[in-house]
């Protein structure tokens, strides 16, 4: 997938003006939030349930190498073939080879963010395979060539007229319709044909259970189950962090995932594969390949500060809670992952330089961190990345800040060390700040802060600071540190 994270600002401004984006985001937000509250309320102690989820994911990541080895051992004993891939190219080449060795022509895919990360579809298509996304939203955006709008609803913002035109143009249906149900039905009929004749399945993995060597997929539509049932060959791709210690842990995380993702207690279908079929079944894969992909994660795993972002279970609750995402949707983030989880992951995957806006466009409201069932402190990561930028840390491809900013910050912090310096700074700044004041307010100011003033005023700097007023009153002081 093409990286467009550097266009965050422009795309965000566009999305703010787009009626469909705004209205859909408002509705999804309200609807899912309510359902989520209700479904989390089925736990006898919802906050303990959240804490347990966080502890499970923290343990999963701390014990990562050991759990991956245990998973591989058990999955292999179940009859699955486990491959490891260091990067996107390796993974794509591996999957292509599996397909070519088996003369695969037709591939159906369950929704998998990791295969968007690696750009797998393009590689397969370039090599002559037909590849169909089968989740309805993913199917639509695949045809449109667009990135996902929203983690739960990749095509939610696309107007029915556009979908109708698209389906007519691509031969998905013969009669035009603007009825979403009829459009969905047209997609069902079209894709059903693909499910029937598919040669190879490609799926992602929601959870990989170390204890039993099982992979688990969660969905509402049934496309993943169909993809896993029809062909003889199944390839399931997981990144390192998908592993959880035990089946009981997986069940608990399953409850948290569904409640936080769509507000449901559980999705329509959960399917668990412990190896390929046992040989006598009339459906299901004879061969199950599990690809464990690294793609940079083992590198940032080395930094305990950022390791915790691997705990993410892709529930999307951070997006539900984020006031920024709630206004701009998924497009501005410019890559496979959006919202706060994308804001912590994309900078590590793509480098800090290319993702400047992603860790700066945050109000620090803390909504993401508070809700996250995996225990990630997103805002703290943003501060960390900003510090890495200032340092110009090459490991993160940090970009040194402009000298104007670093000079200002140097002066600012120097000035905070002594009150007399602070007072001097105020005396110098006041006439400048207050040069155009109307009724006690500044109405406009050119330069880096001018955006504020488009719709807001700002109070003038007080003629007497609080400190001045206290000095005048000669209030009691005690325990002062040494003056300078």
């Amino acid at each position: 997938m093409k990286v467009k994270s550097e266009q965050f600002r422009e795309v965000a401004i566009e999305e703010l003006k787009t009626r469909h984006t705004r209205s859909h985001l408002d509705v999804i937000g309200l609807f899912i939030s309510e359902m989520r509250r209700a479904s989390m309320g089925t736990f006898p102690d919802p906050s303990a349930a959240l804490e347990l989820g966080r502890a499970i994911r923290a343990e999963s990541i701390e014990r990562l190498p050991e759990l991956l080895e245990e998973f591989e051992r058990n999955a292999t004993a179940n009859g699955a073939v486990v491959h490891w891939a260091r990067d996107a190219d390796e993974a794509n080449a591996l999957i292509l080879r599996i397909a070519q060795e088996r003369n695969v022509r037709l591939v159906t895919k369950g929704k998998s963010m990791v295969t968007e990360e690696t750009g797998l579809n393009d590689v397969l298509i370039e090599n002559g395979l037909e590849v169909f996304e089968t989740d309805l939203g993913e199917f639509i955006i695949q045809l449109l060539g667009r990135p996902p709008f929203h983690i739960q609803g990749p095509a939610l913002n696309i107007p029915v007229q556009e979908i109708c035109d698209l389906f007519m143009e691509k031969g998905i249906m013969n009669e035009p319709t603007l009825d979403p149900v009829e459009l969905g039905h047209a997609a069902r009929v079209f894709l059903r044909n693909k499910f029937h004749h598919v040669d190879m399945a490609i799926t992602g993995v929601n959870f990989a259970v170390a204890q039993t060597g099982t992979i688990i997929n969660v969905e509402n539509e049934g496309n993943i189950r169909l993809t896993k049932s029809s062909p003889r060959t199944q390839v399931s791709v997981m990144t390192l962090e998908k592993v959880v210690p035990t089946m009981q842990d997986a069940m608990h995380m399953l409850r948290l995932l569904c409640r936080n993702c769509t507000g449901q207690k559980i999705a329509s279908y959960v399917s668990m594969d412990s190896g390929p079929n046992k040989g006598r079944e009339v459906d299901g894969p004879r061969e199950l390949f599990i690809v464990i992909l690294d793609n940079g994660r083992s590198s940032f795993y080395r930094d305990p500060e950022v390791r915790e972002i691997l705990r993410c279970i892709r529930c999307g609750v951070c997006m539900l809670e984020c006031p920024v995402y709630g206004k701009i949707g998924g497009y501005p983030y410019g890559w496979a992952y959006s919202g706060p989880m994308g804001q912590v992951l994309n900078p590590l995957m793509l480098g800090l330089e290319r993702t400047q806006d992603l860790y700066r466009a945050c109000t620090f409201c803390g909504g993401c961190k508070t809700a996250c069932p995996a225990g990630i402190d997103h805002p703290q990561k943003f501060l960390y990345y900003r510090a890495k930028d200032v340092e110009g840390d090459p490991r993160y491809k940090g970009k040194r800040r402009p000298w104007t900013e670093s000079s200002f910050m140097g002066i600012f912090t120097w000035v905070t060390k002594r009150r007399w310096r602070w007072n001097l700074g105020i005396k110098a700044a006041r006439p400048f700040l207050n040069r155009h004041v109307e009724q006690g307010f500044i109405r406009g100011m050119k330069g880096p802060v001018e955006g504020w003033f488009k719709s807001r005023d700002f109070p003038a700097m007080a003629e007497k600071t609080f400190h001045d007023r206290m000095q005048e009153r000669g209030s009691r002081e005690s325990g002062e540190p040494s003056r300078s």
């Binding site: 965000a12 703010l16 006031p323 920024v324 206004k327 701009i328 700066r360 466009a361 945050c362 109000t363 620090f364 409201c365 803390g366 909504g367 508070t370 703290q380 501060l383 900003r386 510090a387 200032v390 800040r401 900013e405 670093s406 910050m409 140097g410 600012f412 912090t413 120097w414 905070t416 060390k417 002594r418 009150r419 602070w422 105020i426 802060v449 955006g451 504020w452 488009k454 719709s455 807001r456 005023d457 700002f458 109070p459 003038a460 700097m461 007080a462 007497k464 600071t465 609080f466 400190h467 007023r469 206290m470 000095q471 209030s475 009691r476 002081e477 005690s478 325990g479 002062e480 540190p481």
Partner: protein, 246 residues
């Protein structure tokens, strides 16, 4: 009980000093004589947020020097309290003596309403205000400190004041410090929705505990709905206290 020391955020010192004066009036109402250390400047949050962690250490160390010996430090700003409690230990991780001092100080730093209700055990300040009040749950106060009931209790105890519900009270107002000037288009949408929700609530005044929110929402109201008021909880209480002493 020893007198608390007043930590006045730079935003208040420079732009909203009346909030500081209101804090004094409110605390004196409790028969406290708040201490003000004139050496205080700024907790360093702007530098920390911009990633200048090495430089921000200077601000943190100065803060710890100024406030380190106080029994209780009270502040009318959730974001500043969060900076001291959550960020200072991170900042000073590699300097054990300073780290210890920061960790030692953290539990003694309070947001104003938290101090009044939880530490002083007071809800009723003997104040009165006739009208409907809406409350904006500043993010750093609500989620940063877990403070929400305390300011609402203080408001409800004001005789004549009716705390009315406001849609989206817990939604961010779009300030976020540097966010509001770096991403003004998004910030503007958030603050305009906050203002619309306030107006729709039918409240006569909007109250909040964080000066950042006040500057943001207040700035928007001043430009677009100058007849609508937003006040800091300290200012609201101070005004409602009939015989406030200074």
């Amino acid at each position: 009980m020893d007198n608390p020391s007043l930590f006045i955020p730079c935003m208040v010192d420079l732009f909203l000093p009346e909030i500081g004066e209101a804090c004094l009036r409110v605390l004196r109402r409790l028969d406290l004589d708040p201490i003000y250390h004139p050496e205080q400047t700024c907790c360093g949050q702007p530098a920390i947020h911009a990633g200048y962690v090495k430089k921000a250490k200077d601000s943190a160390k100065h803060f710890i020097d100024v406030f380190g010996e106080d029994d209780a430090v009270v502040c009318p700003a959730g974001s500043c309290v969060c900076t001291v409690k959550d960020r200072y230990p991170d900042l000073l991780q590699d300097e054990p003596t300073w780290l210890r001092r920061a960790e030692d100080l953290a539990p003694r730093v309070y947001e104003l309403s938290q101090y009044i209700v939880d530490v002083m055990g007071v809800e009723d300040l003997g104040a009165s205000y006739e009208g409907r009040v809406a409350y904006h749950e500043s993010c750093r106060v609500l989620r940063g400190l877990g403070v929400s009931e305390q300011p609402k209790k203080l408001i409800k105890a004001v005789s004549g004041a009716e705390l009315v519900p406001m849609q989206g009270a817990e939604v961010c107002c779009g300030f976020g410090g540097e966010f509001s000037t770096n991403y003004p288009e998004i910030s503007e949408v958030l603050v305009s929705e906050k203002a619309a929700n306030y107006i729709a609530s039918g409240a006569d005044v909007l109250v909040a505990c964080d000066p950042g929110c006040l500057l943001n929402i207040g700035g928007y109201l001043n430009r677009n709905h100058p007849e609508k008021r937003i006040m800091h909880v300290a200012s609201f209480l101070a005004e409602a206290i009939q015989d406030g002493r200074t």
